[in-house]
Every structure is written in structure tokens, then in C-alpha cells.
């Protein structure tokens, strides 16, 4: 455990209510990173908006959230943050009926972070696979997917920074590409990476530990209290994506 990366306990949800503009901006960036994809797909599919409208509304929502400090009004005692955020989105979309206003407000906070074209491609690729889910379940499932994707990217970055890119490559080959299908064995990886099987075992164990730690750090950033964090973690790790609510 000596070579573990440090754990962070920073909460963007709490930071969103900070009196410091820079802390608020940093917090919103973390929230946008975790939520832009669920918000975009929610607006696109559950609110039946075109890709262009959904893109504008997503950007406008986060820009307005920053300007008007939407998230500062969140009270952890009254429910989960993601439920609060989805309610804010629904209310925002319902009130936002003038395209010109949206365009005027858009182009701010979310633009650099969000790859809307990629999100649109995912919607097309998913096809009818997401059918049968309620809008709430679809939003929650997308939120889970978004957090895991963020954690994978953060793991890649941290491994590279720590000179452990080979550890990440093992993780990528075994847990991302093969994804437990059994087509790749530890012996295969040992040959491919010129390692002993026991080193493959140890490297994978290390990188998986870090993945769990980073995933929980990411979750902690987008939850507002210890209790919410604990309950969301239980659902994130053990529940079904569609039942994360």
C-alpha cells in the first residue's frame, strides 16, 4: 500500500456554494465533467430535443448554473445531488422556450469539456438498447457510466504521471478490452508484456486498487455529504445502473 496515490476528500458539491468565485468555478468544472453527458442525453432523449437544441440547452444549463449559483441551493438533507440536478435540468428546459436566448447564453462553461458529437454517436450506437428505462433510470445509468469513464481517464493520467503506464496497459488489455470475457489470460499478458504471471497478478491488483480509489474520489467530488457519498457508493459498486436512484 506504500505506493498508493493520495486520496482526496474534496467535494465539488459543497464547493459550489463557496463564497470564492475560483472555488465555485473549480467545483462547477468537476460537476460538468461528471454530469454533462447524462444531462445532454436526458435532454436529447427524455425531452425529445434535436442534437443542436440539446447541445445548446446543456451548455446553457451549466452556464446559468454557474451564474445563478443553482447548486448552492442544494441541501444534502433533502435528497441526492443527482436527483436535485436532474430536477434543475427539467425545470430549466421547461422554462427555456426561446432558441435565441439559449444561443445567447450558450458557449460558456461546458463547451471545452463536452464532446457532444461523441455523445451523439453513443446515442446512435446504443440504438434501442436503452429502451424500457424511465427517464430517471436512463439519467442515473448515464451518470454511473460517466463516473466510471472519468475514473478510467484519471487512472490513465495518474499512471502516466507516476511512470506506471505499463500497469495501465495491463488494465486496459484485461479489464477494458477483454472485460472479463476470458479471451485474454494472465499468461497471455505475461508473454505480451515480458513479465512473469505473478508480476501480472501484482500489477493488475495494484492498478485495480487505484481504480477503486480514484472512482470513489470522483464520486466524493459530486456528492454533498458523507451519508450521500456512502449510499451512492453502495449503489455505484453493487447496484444495477438502472436502479441507482
Amino acid at each position: 500500500m506504500a505506493d498508493r496515490f493520495p486520496t482526496t476528500h474534496w467535494s465539488a458539491v459543497r464547493g459550489a456554494g463557496s463564497a470564492e468565485p475560483e472555488e465555485r468555478r473549480r467545483s462547477l468544472e468537476a460537476i460538468v465533467a461528471a454530469y454533462w453527458r447524462p444531462v445532454y442525453k436526458h435532454v436529447r432523449l427524455s425531452r425529445n430535443r434535436s442534437p443542436e437544441d440539446a447541445e445548446d440547452l446543456t451548455q446553457a444549463f451549466f452556464t446559468r448554473a454557474f451564474e445563478k449559483e443553482f447548486f448552492a441551493g442544494y441541501d444534502p438533507a433533502k435528497g441526492r445531488f443527482r436527483t436535485f440536478l436532474r430536477t434543475c435540468v427539467d425545470r430549466f428546459v421547461a422554462n427555456e422556450d426561446k432558441a435565441a436566448q439559449r444561443l445567447k447564453r450558450g458557449g460558456g462553461m461546458a463547451q471545452e469539456t463536452c464532446d457532444f458529437a461523441a455523445a451523439e454517436a453513443e446515442i446512435a450506437a446504443a440504438g434501442a438498447a436503452g429502451g424500457g428505462r424511465s427517464p430517471e433510470e436512463a439519467f442515473d445509468a448515464e451518470w454511473v457510466r460517466s463516473l466510471f469513464a472519468l475514473a478510467v481517464e484519471a487512472l490513465r493520467s495518474e499512471c502516466a504521471a507516476a511512470g506506471k503506464s505499463r500497469h495501465f496497459e495491463l488494465f486496459r488489455r484485461y479489464d477494458l478490452e477483454d472485460a472479463g470475457e476470458g479471451k485474454v489470460t494472465y499468461d497471455d499478458l505475461a508473454r505480451e508484456f515480458s513479465l512473469t504471471p505473478s508480476l501480472v497478478t501484482n500489477h493488475l491488483a495494484w492498478v485495480r486498487r487505484e481504480f477503486r480509489r480514484i472512482l470513489l474520489d470522483t464520486l466524493r467530488q459530486v456528492t454533498g455529504s458523507d451519508e450521500e457519498f456512502r449510499l451512492e457508493a453502495r449503489l455505484l459498486l453493487g447496484g444495477e445502473p438502472g436502479h441507482a436512484g
Partner: protein, 348 residues
């Protein structure tokens, strides 16, 4: 982007305990509770299977880890044939606290009863459950979450009382040793604090004082109520309160009297129904003081003796004595007839 299959795999990867460098090899997940998950593992050093319980929830303050260790120590201090022994406790390389206990092969009590065992077998098994709880009571421990799902029936008919995660030492201050926060009709529950405390246990099986959140009132008689509810379900094939939301069940536990056992299963003898009714009395003072007293009354019933819970009439007493001594009377009669026959034959 992660497709559904990759996402499912990553969720499993992030959840699995890291057993590298330990003496255990993961086999499969057995079940998931409130704060912890239980896995079937192989103890490589001893070459046997075991059950490894590991903290699932993140635990930034270390509070839940301390509770899991406390649970392991509590269980380790209760050495009894009807309690799963603890083999090991420690911290995994991923920082999560775990303990290892005996792996019990068999069925949960609710599944076992579905195999339709005969009534004496049910009662004998129930006595074993009571014995384990009585042992805990004698050591100053109240289980607080007794229910069929927490009782395992082993391959050789042994009964093991499991999941001591919300157990409480009698007289312990406050409720700091209660680790779960769940509120489903059939899942252990800890409702937000009430005026007197908080609701801990599983609504359908909990005593009225527990449903009211009266933590200070909880004592062995609270477990006696749950044991009575379990016996009710074993004999009546349904829980005393079995429908509604968790909140509704809590209300019914406090306010309503369950249907009389003989009204749902008329074949249950009156003394046995009386034992269940006494164990499930609304008022603690009316119940058996301890699990051992309940067990003793069930054993009396099994032996054909008078039970404490049921004041029988003279006719019932005579019938019971006749039934109890039927074999002896038959032997005496057979002896007398033989004797008369011998005398008659020799006299001729």
C-alpha cells in the same frame, strides 16, 4: 465510451476485494448486506472453504471498519455449536477491513421450511436456534435482527444463527454499536432517529419496542419476540406481518395484533399456539424473559409435558397424559394379557 458489458465488468472489478498477498483465493460472491459483502473463498493455507465478510461501503472515518471488527470480536467471543466460528480478522491490501468465518453449506431457514419438514423436526430445529440466542443472552448480547433469512440450516440439520452486525451488548450506552442504515420491508432497518432513539432491525420481525425506536428498552425479550415471530412463520407458513411498506409494517407491529396462529393454521395445537402468543406479547413483561425459557417451553411441548404458556383444563390434561403414556399403557396391557393367558393355559 464504456458499453454496458465493460461497465458491468468494471463495477465488479471495483467492488471485488483485493486478496493478493493473503491466504485466501476468491471463489464467488455469496451475498451482500448493508455495509458489507460476503464472499466464498478458499483458505489456501488450510485447504478449506470459508466465508469472507468485507466492508463494501467507503469508510473515510474508519467508523464502519471499527464496527466490523467489533462484530468479529463479538462473534469470536461466542463459541457455540449453533454460531459460525470466526477464523481471522484483518485489513486487505486495498485498505478494507474483513473477517473470515466458517462457510455454512445448507439452506436459509425460509428456504428450508419450503421443503415441508414435519412439525417435530421444525420444533427441534427451532430449539437449536433458541439455544444459540440463549447462549448470547447469557453472555450479555442481544442479536436485534433475528429472522429466517439470518438463520442457516446446515447439511446435517444443524442450525446456525448468522449476521450479528447489529447485535448490542446489554447495557451498552447509546447505539454507537449499530452499523446499518436500511429501510426496506424485508431488509434490516435503521430509521431516522425518533424521540427515544432509532429503529434498528427488520420491520417484519421486530418487537414493538424496537419498532418504536426505544433503544434503551431493548433486552433479551426483544429477541424473544423475534423468535416468536419466526416460530409463527414456521408453523403458519407466513410472517405475522407480511404486507406493506417498511413504515406501514412498523406501524402495524406497534399497533396491530397479528392473526391468531390457529386461525391461519388450525392444525397447530393450542399449547404451541400459546407459546408463540406469549413470545410475541406486545408488552415485554408478558413475554418469556429469555430465549432459554422459550426453548424450555417448546421442549416441554415436544416431550408431551404441560407448557408454561397454556393453562390446560382437566380434560386436556387427562388427554395429554393419556397421549404421553399411551406406549407405557399399551405395554402394561400387553403384559397383563400375556400373564392372564399364561395362567389360563397353565391352569388347564
Amino acid at each position: 465510451m464504456l458499453d454496458d458489458a465493460r461497465l458491468a465488468h468494471l463495477r465488479a472489478v471495483a467492488d471485488l476485494p483485493d486478496l493478493t498477498g493473503t491466504r485466501y483465493r476468491l471463489i464467488r460472491r455469496l451475498g451482500r448486506g448493508g455495509m458489507a459483502t460476503v464472499y466464498l473463498v478458499e483458505d489456501i493455507a488450510l485447504g478449506r472453504e470459508a466465508a469472507l465478510k468485507v466492508l463494501t461501503d467507503p469508510d473515510p472515518t474508519g467508523e464502519m471498519a471499527a464496527r466490523l471488527v467489533a462484530e468479529a470480536r463479538l462473534l469470536a467471543g461466542l463459541e457455540h455449536p449453533n454460531l459460525a466460528p470466526v477464523h481471522d480478522v484483518g485489513t486487505l491490501p486495498d485498505g478494507r477491513v474483513f473477517y473470515v468465518m466458517k462457510y455454512v453449506r445448507g439452506a436459509r431457514l425460509d428456504a428450508w421450511i419450503a421443503t415441508s419438514p414435519d412439525r417435530p423436526a421444525v420444533l427441534r430445529l427451532f430449539v437449536k436456534v433458541c439455544d444459540a440466542v440463549a447462549f448470547a443472552h447469557a453472555h450479555g448480547v442481544v442479536h436485534r435482527d433475528l429472522k429466517p433469512q439470518n438463520i442457516m440450516v446446515g447439511e446435517f440439520g444443524e442450525a446456525l444463527v448468522m449476521d450479528w452486525g447489529v447485535a448490542k451488548r446489554i447495557g451498552a450506552a447509546g447505539d454507537a454499536d449499530a452499523p446499518t442504515l436500511r429501510l426496506e420491508a424485508d431488509a434490516p432497518s435503521r430509521r431516522p432517529a425518533t424521540r427515544a432513539g432509532s429503529v434498528i432491525g427488520t420491520p417484519a420481525w421486530m418487537a414493538p419496542e424496537q419498532a418504536r425506536g426505544e433503544v434503551g428498552a431493548i433486552d433479551p425479550r426483544t429477541d424473544v419476540y423475534a423468535l416468536g415471530a419466526i416460530l409463527y412463520s414456521l408453523l403458519g407458513r407466513r410472517a405475522p406481518v407480511d404486507a406493506g411498506s417498511a413504515e406501514e409494517i412498523l406501524r402495524r407491529v406497534v399497533e396491530d395484533v397479528p392473526p391468531a396462529l390457529r386461525s391461519i393454521e388450525p392444525s397447530v395445537p393450542r399449547p404451541l399456539a400459546a407459546i408463540v402468543a406469549r413470545a410475541m406479547s406486545k408488552q415485554q413483561v408478558d413475554r418469556y424473559p429469555r430465549a432459554g425459557d422459550l426453548s424450555a417451553d417448546v421442549l416441554r411441548f415436544l416431550d408431551g409435558a404441560a407448557v408454561e404458556a397454556y393453562p390446560e383444563s382437566i380434560l386436556e390434561r387427562g388427554g395429554r397424559i393419556l397421549a404421553r403414556t399411551r406406549t407405557l399403557a399399551a405395554l402394561i396391557a400387553a403384559y397383563l394379557i400375556t400373564r392372564v393367558l399364561v395362567l389360563w393355559l397353565t391352569g388347564r
